[in-house]
């Protein structure tokens, strides 16, 4: 295994970081997460895969850091990058009438219909779930739609808002503050505590937005 570094994340977690770009590192993150899930290590409380890192949370009363890190390093020896995101394909219907659609069109120099067709044409990969329960960071956005965050974040973005910022897109799972550009709205529930698996999306899933009127 090359280019991976293990660091403690406090006394009850560790983070494996792969060197290189997201394009190089993320397939290794997914492969490592898959290997750890299959191994069902009794000490693992939680796995958090991200762009270039995989964090492993363990119960510090049962297992110490050095034992966990050497076991994890052993397991991810000789890792091959996961060729393609292997998760489910999820379709999210969107009504593209977001309050920032006009502004996004103006800033990108595209017509509104063009913003919609470029946003809904891609199949996005789930890189990371977090920040808020069920919030999934999806990429990569069509380069023509890449804009910095709004200068003034909103105090309250309604749940179900479909938004873009930088090279990413996502859906607000709850009404929370946010600085992304709101281009549409979906009824899809991103986080439901009554579900066995409460977050709709997992790292490795692929997502397509479908325009509805």
């Amino acid at each position: 295994m090359t280019g991976a570094r293990v660091t403690p994340l406090g006394d009850r977690a560790l983070t494996v970081t792969w060197e290189g770009s997201v394009a190089v590192a993320h397939p290794l993150v997914r492969a490592a997460a898959a290997r750890l899930e299959v191994a069902r290590l009794p000490f693992v409380q939680d796995l958090v895969p991200a762009y270039t890192t995989l964090s492993i949370f363990f119960d510090p009363l049962d297992h110490d850091y050095s034992a966990v890190s050497s076991r994890v390093l052993d397991l991810i020896q000789g890792l091959e990058p996961a060729a393609r995101a292997s998760g489910r394909e999820v379709v999210i219907p969107v009504v593209y009438h977001g309050p920032d659609l006009t502004d996004v069109a103006r800033q990108t120099g595209l017509r509104e219909a063009e913003v919609v067709s470029r946003h809904s044409a891609r199949i996005y990969e789930v890189y990371l779930v977090g920040f808020a329960p069920g919030w999934a960071y999806l990429g990569d956005l069509d380069p023509s739609l890449v804009l910095p965050r709004r200068a003034a974040p909103r105090q309250r973005v309604p749940a179900g808002s479909v938004a873009i910022a930088g090279g990413q897109t996502g859906v607000y799972p709850f009404a929370i503050p946010g600085g992304w550009h709101l281009i549409g709205r979906t009824d899809t529930v991103m986080f439901d505590a009554a579900r066995q698996e409460p977050a709709l999306l997992r790292v490795g899933d692929r997502v397509r937005f479908e325009s509805r009127t």
Binding site: P8, V48, Y51, P60, L61, H63, A67, A132, P133
Partner: protein
């Protein structure tokens, strides 16, 4: 049944939270001082993981409709009462720290979601307790009531930290500044995070990090250079560099600090953090030596 006669300014039901749902973006949440809630439960013979009331800021009053044993726990306060039917119980104003905890023998029988009875307001789970709320007392059976042990050193102003995943992005000089500054817990501190102020602003690295997992106790350095310690309801991922992480046994010392109170941070190794944790627990259980 327990009836809230007068709700404290900020009270919620909490247990030990959701430690296994970070991958879904769910913070651990639960008690800000997990030791004090576990201790209140132990004093009434409950399992440590039972739910209790966490409150802050002001006093409150409850009434029970049957005989019950309750315990109140927090910095400088560990009391058990037998309460008679119809009797009112005062929830004192927290003075020795920020939060106090009430445990009742049998536990609070409120619905569990995804394995926890904790309140996590951002996802609409639970609510801030208000006057008139009624909570059923559960039928949990634990062990014999026990005196709490392994108490955090609440009187200490020193909180131990281990180096964080992005320590290497900061110079030795910045690390020294971080450890030698006299920090104060800012008023802008809540269940999500405590801001530290009063020290010298640190020089945050310019690097643009892709977001990755955080943890409770992680100390992030945002561009303004003033540390933010992530607490129970803090986000599960973030892009700010994590210079250090508070060790598990010292988290209650920090979470119980009131706004304006001073803290100093001192460096520990992972081995020191873990042996402090084992010895705090081994006073309660005969801990097995760690192995895989």
């Amino acid at each position: 049944m327990i009836t809230v006669v007068e709700a404290p300014a900020f009270a919620t039901i909490q247990d030990q939270g959701w430690p296994g749902l970070r991958g879904a973006g769910m913070p651990v949440s639960g008690a800000m001082d997990p030791w004090a809630l576990a201790a209140a439960n132990r004093m009434v013979g409950n399992p440590e993981a039972a739910a209790g009331i966490e409150w802050a800021l002001t006093a409150g009053r409850l009434r029970v409709d049957r005989q019950a044993t309750v315990a109140i726990c927090g910095p400088g306060l560990e009391v058990r009462h037998a309460v008679e039917p119809g009797q009112e119980l005062e929830l004192p104003r927290p003075t020795g720290g920020r939060f106090l905890y009430l445990g009742v023998a049998g536990g609070f029988d409120v619905p569990a979601t995804l394995g926890s009875r904790s309140t996590y307001l951002a996802a609409g789970l639970g609510h801030v307790i208000k006057t008139g709320d009624r909570f059923p007392i559960g039928t949990l059976r634990g062990a014999e009531p026990m005196t709490p042990a392994g108490r955090p050193d609440y009187g200490s102003r020193v909180v131990r930290v281990v180096e964080g995943p992005q320590r290497h992005l900061f110079s030795h000089g910045e690390w020294k500044k971080f450890l030698e500054s006299e920090w104060k817990v800012s008023r802008a501190s809540d269940r999500m995070g405590y801001r530290l102020e009063g020290g010298v602003a640190l020089k945050a690295p310019a690097a643009d990090l892709p977001s990755e997992a955080t943890c409770v106790g992680a100390i992030q350095i945002p561009p303004d250079g003033y540390p933010i310690v992530l607490m129970a309801d803090g986000p599960t991922v973030g892009g700010y560099p994590k210079l250090a992480v508070v060790i598990t046994v010292d988290l209650p010392i920090l979470s119980q600090r009131q706004p304006g109170e001073a803290v100093r941070l001192s460096a520990a190794t992972i081995a020191e953090a873990q042996s402090a944790l084992y010895s705090s627990r081994s006073t309660r259980t005969s801990a097995e030596p760690p192995e895989l």
